[in-house]
């Protein structure tokens, strides 16, 4: 080998099994290195960036970018045919139909009221969910950051649901919340009346927020925990010396220093919230009525579940959603660059 000795620190965990994986990987690397070196010699060190980007961009282009374009094409065509070439051009017809509203504040006044109900439900859900998510993951992170025993265990407990599939999460809770579920068993045994949690609009909204927090809180907690642990301990010691009340320490030191991580949590939770579909779909089916119908659910149903698979209208709705999501993403960019400057 003519190359230099690697400067990377070798992780020395002494496991025999990892050699078994490492040996073929090293061989593979050497095999790839040869053509890569040749390419580098031709195009130079800098332009190697394109080579590294290529595989990802190829996949991305084929399976994300091209479909997005097709989706835009779908959104300006009508009919029930699948192939864009067989679909009649309808211009902005689908968008016009979608936006045909008496008042944008009242879904009932819109021709496609389900879309707007979806929009308003998603907005409300996201608002509640993000607020509660930040609150609970903050509390949990603070508690986990205290001098407690078995911190690893508790950290794992809160993280565990993150690994469950949305369908499992929803099934689990459905089993608890339905008429004859565990929760109603508890309520009746205490002498209360059964509550039909998933048939009452307000309860249904409460529970989808609750379940969504239950399922994802662990992830955000860890992000905040990392932020808490990065706060220098001497700041707290100084505060303690001055006999500053604890809530004040929290308000004056902890929160401001945690702010960058908070922004990450808020933005990620926001994205997740807008995308919510599977969990709610299985748990409440969008009901009662349309009280928990989400935008993505609406799009899915328009494209698949109806007898006429209305790809055009679904695509138009998804383009609208895409534009909104893009705006939110730009907000994230702005927020994270401000964070970088701070």
């Amino acid at each position: 080998m003519t190359g230099p000795t690697p400067t990377a620190p070798r992780r020395d965990d002494g496991a025999g099994a990892s050699d078994l994986i490492a040996a073929p990987l090293a061989l593979l690397s050497r095999l790839i290195d040869w053509p890569m070196r040749a390419i580098q010699r031709v195009i130079g060190e800098r332009r190697m960036a394109y080579v590294f980007l290529l595989p990802n961009l190829a996949f991305f282009g084929l399976f994300v970018f091209v479909p997005l374009i097709i989706n835009v094409v779908f959104s300006v065509t009508g009919g029930a045919a699948l192939f864009p070439s067989q679909r009649p051009y309808v211009g902005a017809g689908q968008y016009a139909y979608l936006f045909d509203c008496g008042s944008f504040l009242d879904p009932n006044s819109c021709r496609e009221d389900h879309f707007w109900r979806g929009v308003s439900n998603t907005a409300r859900f996201t608002l509640f969910q993000v607020t509660a998510m930040v609150l609970f993951s903050l509390v949990t992170a603070v508690v986990l950051n205290m001098r407690i025993r078995a911190r690893g265990f508790f950290r794992a407990v809160y993280f565990f649901p993150v690994l469950l599939s949305p369908v499992v999460v929803a099934l689990t809770w459905k089993w608890i919340l339905q008429r004859d579920g565990l929760l109603n068993a508890g309520i009746t045994s205490l002498g209360g009346e059964r509550i039909l949690f998933l048939v009452d609009p307000s309860w249904a909204m409460f529970w989808i927020v609750f379940v969504s927090i239950w399922a994802h809180m662990g992830f955000y907690t860890l992000i905040l925990l990392a932020g808490l642990q990065a706060i220098p301990a001497d700041l707290y010691e100084a505060a303690e010396m001055d006999a500053t009340p604890r809530w004040r320490t929290f308000w004056r030191i902890t929160l401001p220093l945690l702010w960058p991580n908070m922004i990450v949590v808020i933005v990620l939770a926001l994205i997740k919230g807008v995308q919510t579909f599977d969990e709610v779909f299985v748990l409440t089916g969008g009901g009662p009525g349309t009280a928990t119908l989400m935008v993505v659910h609406y799009i899915y149903e328009t494209a698949f579940s109806n007898q006429v698979q209305n790809f055009g209208l679904a695509a138009a709705a998804s383009v609208v959603l895409g534009v909104v999501l893009f705006a939110l993403t730009l907000a994230q960019l702005a927020a994270s660059s401000r964070k970088g400057a701070a």
Partner: protein, 426 residues
């Protein structure tokens, strides 16, 4: 039994003769969803077919219903998909169906025994093709928990009782025995139309175009709406999920929480097994409305797909499955109401069924002939699911209190119109 041996001996002989010629095995794929044990039964029957036809391999792809309802149309539209599929939206799949007529040995048998159902499977304007047959005919209607009636000391309403009579009776029973669901009806537009047609809706106008909202329809919708208000029906089915999502009350019925369950003949096999000896249940004829006493026909068809590369082999498989002895066995073992006129006329002996399941199957089978012509017409209408979905989605919203019934009527009319227009856009 002996005949089977004879056939397989012949097949073996044929195999030996043909042995010298290396002919490739053709594969026929069937996409099949199951509600009960019918998947096991058909795979049994297919094994026999393969034993007789060494040159054809039949693969039964057992899928969730979601795959048939949502993914299959996309697959078919793109030219993919199976050779044969068991579908519920028969009208929707019609344009992808293969006409088996040129490949059949005895097309007359099909015309004679499947005639009225073939119309459901044909694209509009086609009066000749044979796309498949019904794996089961279903009839909607009520199943009643007789034991609850006995415990309450209330007599079952008679054969010509109206929906009102039933509603009063089940409410009284439920109050006495404290059952939470006096009357449960599947959350499905299809089920609702049994009631609505009984109340006199015509569904179509004089020209044959859909005109869903009329007085009969409104009477039916008002009944369901009022029942939810007065506690005859619980909100958990109609007022729970959104859109066209289906909800049934099987679990609640099994658990003796439902006095009367308006569902259909397909429930029999399951209840026979799961209710067991816990209580007595009976099927009763559809209650009467202002116009008639009818349920809705329906069912799942086994449809050959045009895109297949081996139409001859597909026809062979279909011919085998549709043949009288095989189909009789299939219906009998799955406890389905036969969708084969000859078998239906002869009557079917459900060997494995309990007396109460047999009685229930008889009640449903007897109704096949007396269903309203409107019900048959609606079931055969290509865009019927557009109507079913719009109705259930909008009436559901009214029941959950989001809109009024009048608002729902307007929405149903415009939903149906918009979607049919979208379908016809070329």
């Amino acid at each position: 039994m002996q005949r089977k041996h004879w056939i397989s001996a012949l097949a073996l002989l044929a195999g030996l003769v043909a042995g010298g010629i290396a002919h490739a095995q053709t594969t026929v794929r069937i996409a099949w969803y199951s509600d009960g044990n019918e998947g096991e039964v058909v795979s049994d029957l297919l094994k026999r077919f393969e034993a007789q036809n060494k040159d054809i391999k039949v693969v039964l792809d057992q899928v969730p219903y979601k795959a048939i309802n949502e993914a299959l149309p996309v697959q078919l539209a793109s030219g993919q998909g199976p050779d044969i599929a068991r579908v519920v939206d028969i009208g929707g799949v019609a344009r992808y169906a293969l006409d088996l007529r040129p490949y059949l040995k005895d097309a007359g048998y099909w015309d004679k025994n499947f005639g009225p159902f073939l119309e459901w499977m044909r694209p509009q304007g086609d009066t000749n093709s044979i796309p498949g047959f019904m794996t089961q005919l279903t009839v909607t209607g009520p199943l009643v928990n007789k034991t609850l009636f006995e415990q309450a000391g209330i007599a079952l309403p008679g054969a010509k009782a109206t929906w009102d009579d039933w509603a009063k009776a089940v409410k009284a029973v439920a109050t006495k025995v404290q059952a939470p669901f006096p009357l449960a009806m599947d959350r499905s537009g299809h089920r609702f139309f049994g009631l609505a047609i009984s109340e006199g809706t015509k569904v179509f106008d004089a020209k044959g175009e859909p005109a869903v909202i009329d007085d009969g329809f409104k009477r039916g919708a008002q009944l369901v709406f009022d029942w939810h208000k007065s506690g005859v029906m619980a909100k958990e089915l109609w007022g729970s999920v959104s859109g066209a999502a289906y909800r049934g009350a099987n679990d609640e019925f099994k658990n003796a929480q439902v006095v009367m369950y308006v569902s259909g003949s397909w429930q029999i096999a399951q209840f026979d097994k799961t209710v067991g000896n816990a209580f007595d249940w009976v099927a009763v004829p559809s209650p009467c409305g202002a116009a008639s006493c009818t349920g809705m026909p329906g069912g799942a068809g086994l449809i050959a797909i045009k895109a297949t590369k081996n139409p001859e082999a597909v026809a062979k498989v279909m011919e085998y499955l549709a043949s009288e002895p095989v189909l009789s066995e299939f219906y009998a073992r799955s406890l389905f109401v036969p969708g084969h006129l000859g078998i239906a006329a002869k009557g079917l002996d459900y060997k494995d069924a309990s007396p109460q399941a047999k009685a229930a199957l008889k009640v449903f089978s007897d109704q096949v002939a007396s269903l309203s012509p409107v019900a048959y017409k609606l079931q055969g209408f290509v865009s019927n699911r557009i109507i079913f979905n719009a109705v259930i989605s909008r009436v559901g919203q009214a029941i959950s209190g989001e809109t009024t019934l009048d608002e729902a009527y307007k929405r149903i009319a415009s939903d149906v119109e918009q979607q049919i227009a979208e379908r016809n856009k070329k």
